[in-house]
């Protein structure tokens, strides 16, 4: 990771620390715009900072670490979509400034699309759309079409998850007519952008998981250091030490793979690099979550302690993106194909 990105990450950590573990969504959203975090990966010629996906992931690591509430990934996906499609620069500027928010689904969805005059008619149920109630538009992305749908033409249903750090919605489109001006791309262009969005999404989920796992392990070790039982600190018990050491190795490995794979982007296998990073990091995060709760004992079972917030976010991260089991299947399919 370049020193530029290391600096970005350091400053992000300071910001996250400053606003506490989980700043309110409104507050942190405003901050995102102010700090320019929404423009990090937009090319310089489009008015962004041109620091690429590595920078976005560096920030996402810190946001995972700090249990950030703002819909950063969703916003980045929309910004990437608008930027990649070369659409109106005014919209892009507003999005990058945080003045406007277009919500994107963090799941794979089936979209029905038919031509309608110059525009299209769309039907779909989009799952896992973060903070959709704050969005002006919803991004609809499929291999056929990439479009912006006004929020007032869809039906939103809040789908509360156990992870209270994020607010997800189900977005229902029932034959919504989108004029040509709302269609960002079609056909092969739309497919190419959808692929890029999946890479952004999977890497970002990996980053959130890598950051969260590292933070939760820190919390857990600190707890074991502090808490005494049978007349000695829990951290003295070798069985617990060894479990923490195993978790540490896994956390470091997940981050190593994430950063290494980010460094390999552009070689024609971006999707696989993102999927591998996502698969390992989310597996590690849920593993750290499971172990941390056990290591905390009773206190971890109470909502007073921060432990469960990480655990629940870990579990949700694991089920965002493509279906959880599709990741190892995709990696295996690639290996089998390569050796055919």
């Amino acid at each position: 990771m370049s020193s530029e990105i290391n600096e970005l990450r350091d400053s992000a950590r300071q910001v996250m620390d400053g606003s506490g573990l989980a700043a309110a969504e409104n507050e942190s959203w405003a901050l995102l715009g102010e700090l320019g975090w929404l423009m990090v990966s937009v090319p310089e010629e489009a008015g962004g900072l041109g620091m690429g996906l590595e920078a976005a992931c560096a920030l996402q690591i810190e946001m995972g670490r700090g249990l950030a509430t703002a819909p950063y990934l969703s916003a980045l996906m929309s910004i990437e979509a608008v930027s990649a499609s070369g659409a109106a620069s005014e919209l892009l500027e507003n999005l990058m400034a945080g003045a406007d928010y277009v919500a994107a689904s963090l799941a794979d969805n089936a979209v029905q699309c038919s031509a309608s005059g110059d525009g299209v008619t769309l039907s779909a149920t989009l799952c896992a759309v973060p903070s959709a109630d704050k969005a002006s538009h919803i991004l609809v992305s499929s291999d056929e079409v990439l479009a912006l749908v006004p929020a007032d033409s869809v039906t939103l249903t809040a789908t509360a998850t156990w992870d209270t750090t994020r607010r997800l919605f189900e977005v229902e489109l029932e034959g919504v007519d989108v004029p040509a001006s709302g269609v960002l791309a079609r056909g092969a262009d739309a497919e190419a952008i959808a692929a890029k969005l999946a890479v952004l999404r999977d890497f970002s989920l990996a980053a959130d998981a890598a950051g969260g796992a590292a933070a939760l392990l820190d919390v857990t070790v600190e707890y074991l250091q502090t808490r005494r039982q049978f007349g000695r600190p829990l951290a003295l018990f070798q069985a617990l030490k060894h479990r923490c050491a195993d978790l540490k190795a896994q956390v470091v490995a997940a981050e190593a793979l994430l950063l290494d794979n980010l460094g390999r982007l552009g070689g024609g296998n971006d999707a696989l690099l993102a999927q591998a990073a996502r698969e390992l990091a989310c597996t590690v995060y849920t593993g750290v979550g499971e172990e941390s709760l056990q290591l905390h004992g009773g206190i971890g079972m109470t909502s007073e302690h921060v432990c469960h917030l990480f655990l629940k976010r870990a579990m949700l991260d694991e089920h965002l993106g493509a279906p959880v089991d599709s990741y190892p299947q995709a990696l295996a399919a690639a290996l089998l194909e390569a050796s055919a």
Partner: protein, 398 residues
């Protein structure tokens, strides 16, 4: 009538009774309700079970419903699980912990005073665990000072089930600080309406609040409500903890086995019933679930035949806790994103709600409470395998 015939008859009886009496749709009715509604449902179900004689099979002959063999008690627990009947969570302490402690260690006066009330539906809670003690029961800090014919209690207990509904409390206190930590403990029967008691429900990560913290500020307990001698509380507490004799894990194992179809149903719902990867895990899990039931059964049988050895109970509990974790983990995997949705909390539902995140989180109740997995591993290693105990004294380097 042979023993086998007698348990078979009982099994048929209770099976029919349960078919007629288990409140239909109780799980749905207990979802997203206030705790009082749950408490009322518990009282109703308690009344029915008591009246039918199925709540007190472990009480001595002569008491209502009492005098059943351990084998018969097992049948009742198995059938309750099979019928997916509610667990008597609010009355478990009174029916088992309190009653057995009184039968084993209480005076005739104490028995006469308290046992009838239990059958009438008095709620008891347990006051053993303390904050920051975890599984280290011996580290007990709540103090009781003898003043004339009373003990005066100051301190704090935690993880007390349904304490806000409790009439009385099985309270373990420290009366002497000198000597080893297990000595100097005394066992009291506390009136929860006494002055100076504050009960504060604990907000759990599932949204449940069945456990409470209990604070004592100069609470007085008459000396006649002491069980056993002063300083002998540790031994009495062991009798309390041993009172259910493995029946709970027989029931929980069976509940888990009867819940396996929740996973196959989830596979079908996801259109993945032919997925070899899920089938592989399901098959492996099912063998483990069967083994959990076999372990619990065989443990109870050894208790019946008097062959129980130290550590046996630890193996049953550890294995159950880990298998339950795997069970809920697989359910969570199959359910995918929809398993992450918060569908509300089902009260008294243990870990077979099909709301996989809740079930998963509740599985920690069994790996943490009642002696954590780590404590069970210590017991198995030290007392079954004969490996050395943790050093008593130690000195850090440097």
């Amino acid at each position: 009538m042979t023993q086998a015939q007698s348990t078979d008859t009982l099994r048929q009886e209770i099976r029919h009774w349960l078919a007629d009496n288990v409140p239909s749709g109780w799980r749905e009715a207990m979802t997203n309700v206030e705790q009082e509604a749950f408490a009322q449902a518990q009282r109703d179900w308690f009344r029915k079970l008591v009246d039918a004689g199925y709540a007190t099979p472990h009480w001595p002959e002569g008491w209502h419903g009492g005098g059943r063999s351990l084998a018969e008690q097992k049948v009742i627990f198995e059938e309750v699980a099979r019928a997916d009947a509610p667990r008597l969570i609010m009355f478990f302490v009174s029916l088992y912990h309190a009653a057995c402690t009184l039968f084993e260690c209480g005076t005739q006066e104490q028995q006469d005073k308290y046992l009838p009330g239990i059958i009438e539906g008095q709620v008891w809670c347990q006051g053993f665990s303390e904050p920051n003690a975890g599984s280290d029961l011996a580290s007990l800090k709540t103090r009781a000072e003898r003043k004339g014919d009373r003990y005066v209690i100051n301190g704090q207990k935690v993880w007390s089930t349904m304490a806000q509904y409790a009439d009385r409390c099985l309270l373990l206190v420290r009366t002497d600080k000198s000597g080893p930590p297990q000595a100097g403990q005394t066992y009291l029967l506390l009136d929860m309406k006494a002055k100076g008691i504050t009960v504060r429900p604990i907000h759990q990560i599932t949204g449940d609040d069945e456990f409470s913290e209990v604070f004592f500020d100069d609470v007085e307990v008459p000396v006649e409500d002491r069980v056993g001698e002063e300083g002998n509380g540790w031994a009495v507490a062991q009798a309390t903890l041993a009172s259910e004799r493995g029946l709970t894990l027989v029931e929980l194992g069976q509940r888990m086995r009867y819940s396996l179809p929740m996973i196959t149903a989830a596979m079908r719902e996801a259109g993945r019933e032919d997925d070899a990867s899920l089938r592989h895990e399901l098959g492996k899990l099912s063998a483990r679930v069967d083994a959990t039931c076999a372990l619990a059964d065989r443990y109870l049988m050894r208790r019946i035949s008097g062959e129980e050895q130290v550590g046996d109970a630890s193996i049953v509990k550890l294995y159950f806790a880990e298998t339950l974790r795997e069970f809920t983990r697989l359910g969570k995997r199959v359910a995918g994103l929809s398993g992450q949705y918060d569908r509300g909390f089902m009260r008294g539902a243990t870990q077979e709600t099909g709301n996989w995140m809740v079930d998963f989180m509740n599985s920690y109740n069994w790996s943490i409470a009642g002696g954590s997995n780590e404590i069970q591993r210590n017991i198995i290693a030290e007392r079954m395998l004969g490996m050395p105990r943790e050093p008593k004294t130690w000195k850090l380097e440097g």
